[in-house]
């Protein structure tokens, strides 16, 4: 840029100088002209041409006078006369022939007179050249002729003089014009010189300014380079170092003075990369191909003065200078960053490992907690089969409720852990959506009627009963949402609506909405309603209970289905939850009638129970024996395999974690047997619900999985499925919805089954009289604490006997008493006789 400017300036100066030279040449030319004109002028002033013309007249007069004298003299000097004639003759000849008179001869007057004079001379020559006597005789004639020609001679001289005077004037005019031109030229030159000198001054100033700028820029660059935090190294095409700043000194441990001029490769490139570096430089020199230059940041290793290698990040740019192409490298020591990155990666790995350990721990703990809990719950079940007082039955019932709640909490925590660890896997199977919804509604209607609410469900539009989905998870979701709706709705209604959106193709877009007229959710809480450990209004905590994990789990499960869950709510008016799931439609399996038939077939089966835990084994064994089955026990897998080889079993229950040989190995061994046992259904007993493990169990050859604790209903289902057997009591007849709201028929059936119909009847009669007595005593005029205690006591018995509607009504009375809510108390007490009137016929049919 600078160089280009100075070149431009140089060209301008050259042009200006050339112009000046031209002007100078012009002036020189003019000066020469002036000098010539001056000389001409000079010669004109001493012009002997004019003198010659005058002389012609003088010589003629001289001749004429001599002729006159000679004509009168006695003895004239004829030779003198002849010489004078000759002189005049010579003069005229000169005028006729000389080149300098050529312009003059063009003048007509001059030419005519000259011709006349010549004629006279030509006529005179024979007389002059004659002998003396003849000349003497001719003298008068000559004189006469001379007198005649004299005016011509006179005019000849005058016309010449006029001509030369004119020529002289013209010459002076020429000189004047030339001088004017010279003056003009000189002025022009002076102007040009003036302009040129102004331009030179301007150029000079510009140069000074540019030089100052260049110096300042250079100084700034030096400051920038020397104070830069990055190492800056400049080298030429051959790799010779031209600049090495302070940061580079610190990074590489070299002194700038030591490395200037040395080869860059030898100084900073590690030995193992030297060859590649030199090859790259050579390639660039040869072909101009740049693979690194201008390609942004690059990470590589570099070498320090002490030979140690360290990671470096650098960028190279090239620039053209007067000395050729140079390369500017900006380098940064990234040792610390790389170390920090490595540390971060290590920290992340540790965190991941910790997370895995936590998951593993939770899974293990869940298993370890479930196993003893299973034992507790199983033994409670067994205890109910023994003869108990009403009080004991109630206590056991309470313990059972608490135990199951604990179990469900553990399951919740475990589900969250599994989902968050990405280990939640769905196990789809063909299921009936309508049946599931009906079951849930049946299950929840007791609680709903306890809250004086109604619960109903139905399809809106076309049905889609059969789908291929994970039934357990789906049930979990719906139970959570519907359970919440029931919990938070008093004296209202809960409507569940299922609907298929759009066409049913490979997937059916099914939305299940749960609309309640309950408390509703405050606007500021809607967004966090699906968060973990989120509970509603705290004043209800005690009443409705819950870990606050329910919706969090529901949301996770919905997501694992690929669906969405959202809520619309108005505080005080109710909430609507929308669960939208893409489900795979399925064909209906065997007809419901067939299943019912299989369930109906009742026969004692021979069952092999493999379980190392004594309590669990005892509980399961008692349950199975109670149903009339023959049970053979094995304490570990090895024993099981041995027994399977010796005897034939209808069904094998196989625990997983066992000493000697675990359940999975035993299953594989049994499946490998060359006997009928190889085809015996094997059901896993496990507290470990991990989906991938369950898949592994199935892959080992197991037919199904029964999750601990072993509950009678689950057991029945499995037995029906694999052994063609069911509980001795046939399925309870369908009861109207209203009935379900007041009593729990399933519960009553279990009690009847365990205690025997007779003792249950006695219990119920006692309970009836107790209730009726209490109803009389429950008046708002009693002390509130007595009221609460009475209501609580009867509620416990009602729960034990399955009178859920009555229990809920009593609990409302208890709560109202405790909270000193007189209005609610009155309302609750007023409602009791009506409820009892409806319940009693159900408990004690005539």
């Amino acid at each position: 840029m600078l160089a280009q400017l100075s070149r431009t300036s140089f060209r301008r100066v050259a042009i200006a100088m050339a112009l000046c030279g031209l002007a100078l040449a012009f002036i020189l030319f003019l000066a020469i002209n002036v000098s010539k004109d001056l000389r001409l002028l000079n010669s004109a002033s001493s012009d002997n041409v004019q003198w010659t013309l005058s002389q012609a007249e003088v010589e003629f007069l001289d001749f004429q006078i001599d002729l006159d004298l000679s004509a009168r003299a006695q003895s004239p000097d004829l030779d003198g006369l002849r010489r004078k004639f000759d002189v005049f003759y010579s003069r005229v000849t000169t005028l006729r022939s000389a080149s300098i008179y050529a312009p003059l001869r063009e003048v007509e007057d001059f030419a005519t007179n000259l011709e006349e004079v010549q004629l006279y001379l030509d006529a005179a020559v024979p007389m002059i050249d004659g002998d003396d006597a003849a000349l003497m005789a001719d003298l008068p004639l000559l004189e006469q002729q001379a007198n005649q020609i004299r005016p011509s001679v006179r005019r000849l001289a005058n016309s010449g003089l006029n001509f030369f005077a004119n020529a002289s004037d013209k010459q002076r005019e020429n000189l004047f014009s030339t001088l004017s031109q010279l003056a003009f030229g000189v002025t022009l030159l002076l102007l040009a010189l003036l302009l040129f000198s102004i331009y030179l001054v301007y150029l000079n100033r510009q140069n000074i300014r540019r030089r100052r700028e260049a110096i300042q820029t250079s100084q700034r660059m030096n400051v920038v380079t020397s104070t830069a935090l990055d190492g800056v190294i400049v080298c030429d095409v051959n790799g010779a170092i031209l600049e090495f700043n302070e940061a580079a000194e610190q990074i590489f441990g070299h002194k700038s003075a030591d490395v200037l001029g040395q080869n860059l490769g030898a100084i900073i490139v590690p030995d193992k990369y030297r060859e590649a570096h030199e090859a790259g430089m050579a390639r660039m020199r040869a072909s101009g191909e740049k693979r690194v230059v201008g390609k942004g940041r690059i990470k590589l290793e570099a070498k320090r003065a002490d030979g140690t290698l360290f990671p470096v990040e650098f960028a190279i740019q090239s620039a053209q200078t007067d000395e050729g192409e140079v390369f500017i490298s900006f380098l940064r020591d990234i040792s610390h960053r790389v170390a920090a990155e490595n540390e971060l990666v290590a920290a992340r790995d540790r965190a991941l490992a910790g997370e895995k350990a936590k998951t593993d721990f939770l899974a293990t703990m869940s298993h370890e907690i479930r196993t003893p809990l299973n034992g507790l719950l199983g033994n409670l079940n067994l205890l109910l089969d023994t003869k108990l007082s009403a009080k004991q039955t109630r206590y056991i019932d309470n313990m059972d409720i608490s135990g199951k709640l604990l179990m469900s909490h553990i399951s919740d925590v475990l589900d969250i852990t599994k989902y968050d660890a990405g280990k939640l896997q769905l196990r789809p199977s063909v299921m009936n959506l309508s049946t599931l919804l009906q079951n849930i509604v049946d299950n929840q209607s007791g609680a709903a009627s306890a809250n004086n609410s109604t619960l109903a469900w139905g399809w809106s539009g076309a049905k889609c009963d059969w789908v291929n989905a994970d039934k357990d998870r789906l049930q979990h979701i719906l139970m959570n949402v519907i359970g919440n709706a029931v919990k938070f709705t008093r004296d209202g209604k809960i409507d569940i609506e299922a609907r298929v959106h759009g066409e049913v193709g490979e997937t059916a877009d099914i939305e299940i909405s749960v609309r309640d007229t309950g408390l509703g959710i405050a606007e500021d809480q809607i967004d966090s309603i699906f968060d973990d450990f989120k509970t509603g209004d705290t004043s209800y905590d005690r009443d409705v209970g819950g870990t606050g994990l329910g919706l969090g789990i529901a949301k996770r499960f919905v997501h694992s289905f690929g669906g969405t869950i959202r809520v619309e709510s108005t505080l005080g008016q109710g909430s609507t939850f929308f669960i939208r799931l893409p489900l795979e439609p399925a064909k209906a399996p065997q007809s419901a009638a067939e299943v019912a038939e299989r369930r109906g077939g009742s026969a004692a089966k021979h069952i092999l129970l493999v379980e190392d835990n004594e309590i669990n084994r005892f509980v399961a064994s008692e349950m199975l024996t109670a149903q009339g089955h023959r049970v053979t026990e094995a304490h570990n897998g090895k024993e099981a395999v041995d027994l399977a080889q010796q005897q034939a079993f209808d069904l094998i229950f196989m625990d997983i974690s066992m000493p000697v040989m675990d359940g999975r190995a035993a299953t594989r061994a049994i499946r490998a047997l060359n006997s009928a046992a190889a085809r015996t259904p094997i059901v896993a007993l496990t507290a470990n619900a991990m989906a991938e493990e369950q898949d592994a169990f199935l892959a080992d050859g197991m037919n199904d999985i029964l999750t601990k604790p072993i509950l009678r209903e689950n057991l029945d289902e499995i037995l029906a499925k694999y052994a063609g057997s069911a509980a001795s009591g046939a399925a309870a007849p369908a009861t109207p919805a209203k009935t379900q709201a007041l009593i729990d028929p399933q519960h009553m059936a279990e009690i009847t089954e365990t205690l025997g119909a007779a003792s249950v009847h006695t219990l119920l009669e006692r309970f009836a009289s107790e209730v009726e007595k209490t109803l009389q005593e429950l008046t708002p005029y009693q002390p509130l604490d007595v009221l609460a205690a009475q209501a609580h006591r009867v509620a416990g018995t009602a729960a034990t006997l399955g009178a859920v509607g009555l229990r809920a009504a009593l609990i409302r009375v208890e709560t109202a008493a405790k909270t000193k809510d007189a209005e609610a108390l009155q309302k609750g007490i007023d409602a009791l006789p009506g409820i009892w009137a409806e319940t009693k016929p159900l408990l004690l049919p005539d």
């Binding site: 002997n48 010579s90 000389a98 080149s99």
Partner: protein, 168 residues
Amino acid sequence: MLRFMCHIATSLFLVAAPAFAAPLDAPKGEVVLTVSGKLTNTNVEGTAQLDLAMLEALETTTIETTTIWTEGNQRFEGVSLAVLAEELGMEGTVLNATAINDYTVQVPMTDAVEGGPILAYRLNDKVMSVRDKGPLWIIYPYDSDPEYRTEVIYSRSIWQLDRIEVAD
């Protein structure tokens, strides 16, 4: 200018060496040139009187040139003024050359150099009559040098010459 200096030097040399010239004989034919004044080699009453034969006897110089008084190229034969000055031992600095009609011009001695003017007695191989500007005509080699094409030189080119006075 350098050339001019040379002329001067040559002239001085010639002036300084008159002793080498041969003694002058008396004229036998019609006298065409009379040289008077400061000269060493004389024959008649302190003057040098020369006829055409005497002039022709001296070294002949030929000049072919154009002149402003004639048309076309002319061939002049005569004796170089330098030769004549040496022959007659001229010692002055200026020559007063006079024509037969008494017209006189001054010719500086410095003009008397080799390659300089001659006293021409023949034009185009013919002796010049008075009507042809004879008998003698001082001719410079006008074409050989621009210095000889000036008004001063033209004024010194006197024709019908018959007398020369050598003066200081």
